[in-house]
């Protein structure tokens, strides 16, 4: 096992990695920007190195500074956490050149999965379903129509050069196909100077389901079950849970096998996550693979009883996976990401935390780098903590989350707690019947109205 590693991150995940290292007897080196001098990851690490000014481009994203910090402290390996350099293949390669270990998958896996179209191609090769559609732009209307009929309506037309919703058209049935194709192509031409359009099956109410994967150096890959991450806003996950209320045992098995198949096909090592879209009819499609530890890893830890960060460290140190086959989930876990942002406008809310009182008691876990008097710097993302609950079943997890949110007191900055309390109480959330479009329809009741109603 490593004797000393460097943590190339900040915030709650840096602290999380320090916790795992402490338990394994590994010394830790924290790196920090001048904006993070008073951060807990600096306080709790065994050593700390200032690597630059507040902008992350000059500190946490500065490969040369991070590697220098590892060199001057004699760190044997680097854990990148999530974000920043975690999915930067060049960083992983630079470390290798400097003979510093990397607590993550091989650079080639990062690079392959970081390229959307290559990842899609790889999934197809591994026999993992992807969202059906054309791989080349539409040239002949008739062939496109045949394709649409094959994948089944509704279908979506997407500008090849596109993004941001422009040049996207949903076609409900064949009668609209030609006119919508024309419009999409014209929009694409106007917006991007390129009228080329792809066709893809349109999932009306998909769920975001992801599988946690672990692979060791000896070719063994296991999955640790799924996480339900459909509660997102602007592609930012807000609430995650495990297991998903939408998966039957059979479906779980098939999706898990597909995830393992893909990871095995690319010779994946360390922790990773295979993300799927799950259609209402139970068909599922590969979306992407994240080649790092996820923010929401605790829900998997809570139901499996495993420590994923410790397992990452053990795998990177060359140990074989000590996890048995058929890991069983116990109970139900829900995570709320506590962001320092206004719950209605979603604008970030940096500044000084004047009161910080996390909840405790049975089935409550808090992962946070915040504390009373901590000043949240404006330079980085607004996640200030994660509240994770564990219950015997989904019902208990939900009421426990309500209770824990009620007892979580943060003052001085705005947080997403009020928003999450309302989501947890929402009848559709409660029913378990929701899709990634949940937040489109969700309207928060403003604080004043809540107060009046009480």
């Amino acid at each position: 096992m490593f004797r000393k590693i460097l943590i190339a991150n900040r915030g709650e995940i840096a602290l999380r990695i320090i916790q795992a290292c402490r338990e394994l007897g590994i010394r830790t080196v924290a790196v920090y920007s001048t904006a993070d001098r008073d951060s807990l990851h600096v306080t709790y690490a065994d050593e700390e190195v200032c690597i630059g000014p507040p902008p992350s481009s000059q500190s946490y994203l500065n490969i040369s500074s991070v590697i220098s910090a590892a060199e001057i402290t004699g760190a044997e390996a680097v854990h990148p956490g999530y974000g920043f350099l975690a999915e930067n293949a060049s960083f992983a390669e630079a470390l290798e050149e400097c003979r510093i270990g990397w607590i993550g998958p091989q650079a080639k896996s990062i690079r392959l999965m970081g390229d959307k179209s290559k990842a899609r191609q790889t999934a197809l090769e591994a026999g993992v379903p992807v969202v059906p559609g054309t791989t080349e732009p539409i040239t002949a209307v008739d062939e496109a129509k045949r394709m649409a009929a094959e994948v089944g309506y509704p279908v979506i037309l997407k500008a090849a050069a596109g993004g941001g919703g422009r040049g996207m058209r949903i076609v409900q049935d064949e009668s609209q196909f030609e006119s919508q194709l024309e419009t999409a192509s014209e929009e694409a031409e106007r917006a991007f100077g390129d009228g080329a359009v792809y066709l893809e099956k349109y999932l009306v109410e998909p769920r975001h389901i992801e599988f946690q994967i672990l692979g060791d150096r000896f070719g063994r890959v296991v999955h640790l079950g799924e996480r339900e991450c459909s509660i997102q806003r602007r592609h930012q996950k807000l609430i995650e849970e495990a297991p998903s209320p939408a998966l039957s045992g059979d479906l779980r098995q098939r999706m898990g096998e597909a995830a393992v198949r893909l990871a095995q096909y690319v010779g994946y090592q360390n922790a990773g996550t295979v993300e799927f879209l799950l259609d209402q009819d139970g068909s599922f499609f590969f979306m992407e693979m994240n080649t790092r530890i996820q923010v929401e890893h605790p829900v998997t830890e809570v139901v499996t009883g495993l420590d994923l960060v410790k397992l990452q460290l053990k795998i990177a140190a060359g140990e074989p996976l000590e996890v048995g086959e058929g890991i069983t989930a116990r109970g139900h876990a829900i995570e709320c990401r506590i962001n320092a942002e206004h719950p209605e406008t979603l604008t970030p809310s940096p500044g000084k935390i004047t009161t910080f009182h996390p909840p405790g008691g049975p089935g409550v876990r808090v992962d946070t780098h915040a504390y009373e008097h901590y000043v949240i710097p404006p330079h980085y993302d607004s996640l200030i903590g994660k509240l994770i609950v564990h219950g015997a079943d989904r019902q208990e997890a939900m009421v426990r989350m309500e209770r824990a949110l009620d007892f979580f007191v943060i003052e001085g900055v705005h947080t997403s707690i009020a928003l999450q309390r309302q989501i947890i109480q929402d009848p559709r959330f409660r029913s378990g019947e929701f899709s990634t479009r949940f937040m489109e329809r969700f309207r928060m009741i403003p604080a004043e109205a809540v107060a009046q109603g009480a």
């Binding site: 709790y44 200032c50 000014p53």
Partner: protein, 161 residues
């Protein structure tokens, strides 16, 4: 006895210097100024668990970290009237001379020009030459040869010309 304008001036001085207070007393006159409320010690420090207290002692930046303004002063530390400090712009290893056999780039008392190389900070096998940012005289060399330096760590103190 002090005039009103003089009292105002004294208040400014008390604030600028960060004094805790000032009292002047003469036969028929007494003035007392209580300085600004003391800045709270950053909690980060208070939170150092006792078992770890020793771990960070080697950090030469520590003493500067008590000031809320340390972010700024760390970059250009005014250590006295007119003098200023050259800090390391990167993490790496400090070298006072271009090679082990060679003489140091500069010594105390040397006059240096803006742009003149003062030392090397090695990062990832790259030798980064650190230049003086002003004309002046080297009055202190803080960096120690072949020792690690962090971002913002002071290397030289210069008395500008």
């Amino acid at each position: 006895m002090l005039t009103f304008e003089q009292i105002k001036e004294l208040i400014d001085i008390v604030c600028q210097k960060g004094l805790q207070g000032l009292e002047v007393e003469r036969s028929d006159f007494r003035l007392r100024i209580d300085g600004r409320a003391a800045p709270r010690v950053p909690v980060g420090q208070e939170l150092v668990p006792s078992a770890d207290a020793g771990a960070s002692e080697a950090n030469p930046m520590e003493s500067a970290e008590n000031e809320a303004g340390a972010v700024e002063t760390g970059l250009l530390q005014a250590t006295g009237d007119g003098v200023h400090t050259i800090t390391s712009p990167i993490v790496g290893t400090f070298y006072a001379s271009p090679s082990p056999e060679a003489d140091p780039y500069v010594q105390i008392g040397d006059e240096v020009k803006k742009g003149q190389v003062l030392c090397i900070v090695e990062a990832m096998k790259l030798m980064n030459e650190i230049e003086s940012d002003s004309d002046g005289t080297i009055i202190q060399i803080i960096g120690r040869d072949a020792q690690p330096v962090e971002f913002g760590e002071p290397l030289f103190v210069i008395q500008p010309a």
